[in-house]
Amino acid sequence: MTGRDALIGIACLAGVALLAGLPFVVADYGLSLAINIMSYTVLATAWSLFSGPTRYVSLATVAFFGIGAYTTAVFVETLAWPLVLLIAMAIGSVVAAIVGLATLRLSGVYFVIFSFGLAELVRQLVTWFEVNKTRTLGRYVFADITAAQIYWQLLALAVLVFAIGFLIGRSRLGLALRAIGDDETVARHCGIDVTRAKVALFVLSTVFMTLTGAIMAPRWTYIDPAIAFNPVVSFTVLIMALLGGVHRLYGPVLGVVPLALLFEYLLARFPNHFSIMVGLVFIVIVYVVPRGVVGLVEDTVRRQAAAKSAA
């Protein structure tokens, strides 16, 4: 077992090293595709970190992503870059903690609707502030950051989100979350402070979303609330995570890669029908692979094992 663990560890390190070398071998288009995939990898993995075990479907991804992007837009020219990221983290965490405490007692569908509303609320607040206070709706993001640097930061963030997900899976918090996902009442009777566990994980998950937004902002050069808080991001993250499978840490990335490529293709080939196509993809995924690619593979393996033992 430990030999296998070591092998997996070495394979992961080699994989990260290979990915880190990517900007040296691909051209601009390839790099921009890689940035896109990497940012969705972080977002979808962070999303399922919270939504996988607790089964709360959150559509608030873009609220935090947008908060990060706006933090960058406001501070990037005046503050050092690490400081900008720290501020983004702080703002994102505070918002997440308030929202978490207020809403994680809601169950199921109410939370979905609230999370969607939250993204809209933040967008409207930012719009109101920009129009009435700063008197300008859009902002230019001039930063001395290259595409390759953005890619590397996202890669580091991806490594971090996987590492934290791995550690949580082996921690008491991980066990608590699995218990909560199975039966919240029983979890409470086992002594688990359900609300605190959920809020802690929600904050952790949204920190990664906020940072992704902050890191991605310089890519656009110009942002306004409609770009930074585009609800399509929330839905895309959701469907990518569902396609891959949310009950395994490595699940979402299996949905991110094919869908990012597919959306790229659809956007190039059918720019006017993109939304319809994406909607169809949503429906197909929910009907055909409800437990995601990971679930599909696991079920097949189990069935074959059962067939073998029956024979």
Partner: protein, 249 residues
């Protein structure tokens, strides 16, 4: 014997229905007390009020001298009160061992790591599930799922164990084993409050019984006494009690 649990004036309404109406009783340390009553008399609501699923509209619950009415369930669990559910509720995606580890990790002891695994195995052994540690609850029989739930409750190291019809649905052999198990837990020093309809079990296990009807306390005393009590017989069997003797409902 000192008082472990003290309930006074406990009331809970659901809309117009008063499910528990000014209920008062006590449970002393190391006692086995039966909470009886016909279906719908409010027994499970009482357990839910004690364990923190529901908060009472009025009344006092003292546990180990501390007022716990309205506290959240996880705090009550950590104070040393554990329960099982009328319809078994195992954590379905966790193995038997992980089910028990959950209780160990967040209960009074906060046990984690190798020590917790050993302890989980010991508890599974204790309830007779030593062979199925790695199985998922869905693969167990009903009685074994009940055993698993008991092991998970024991993992909290409770002073008081609430059993909600834990013996229901067992065959005679399993029932004997179940009764012996409860008795041995009591012998270890765990106080037990059980909601039960199996009269044999009540007679052989309970030191005292508390009988409810329509949310109110109607009798309390030794099992044989309360089961012969006129009000109790009437509550179980209706007005025409006359010659039927004891209330084996």
């Amino acid at each position: 014997m000192s008082v472990l649990l003290e309930v006074d004036g406990l009331t809970r309404r659901f809309g117009g229905l008063v499910a528990v109406d000014a209920l008062g009783f006590t449970v002393a340390e190391r006692e086995i007390v039966g909470l009886l009553g016909p279906n719908g008399s409010g027994k499970t609501t009482v357990l839910n009020l004690l364990s923190g699923v529901l908060s009472p509209d009025a009344g006092r619950i003292g546990f180990r001298g501390q007022a716990i009415a309205g506290l959240p369930a996880h705090r009550i669990a950590r104070l040393g009160m554990a329960r099982t559910f009328q319809l078994v509720r195992p954590l379905a995606s966790l193995t038997c061992r992980d089910n028990v580890r959950t209780g160990l990790a967040f209960g009074r002891r906060s046990a984690w790591g190798a020590a917790a695994e050993t302890e989980a195995d010991r508890l599974l052994e204790r309830v007779g599930l030593g062979d199925v540690r790695g199985s998922l609850p869905g693969e167990l029989t009903y009685i074994d799922q009940k055993r698993l739930e008991l092991a998970r409750a024991l993992a909290l190291q409770p002073d008081l164990l609430l059993l909600d019809e834990w013996l229901a649905g067992l065959n005679p052999t399993e029932l004997d084993a179940g009764i012996a198990l409860i008795r041995s837990l009591n012998g270890q020093g765990i106080t037990i409050l059980l909601v039960e309809h199996v009269m044999d079990a009540i007679r052989s296990l309970c030191h005292r019984c508390v009988v409810m009807n329509a949310g109110r306390l109607i009798a309390t005393g030794l099992p044989a006494e309360v089961l012969a009590h006129r009000e109790v017989v009437r509550a179980y069997l209706g007005e025409d009690e006359g010659d039927r003797g004891e209330g084996d409902a």
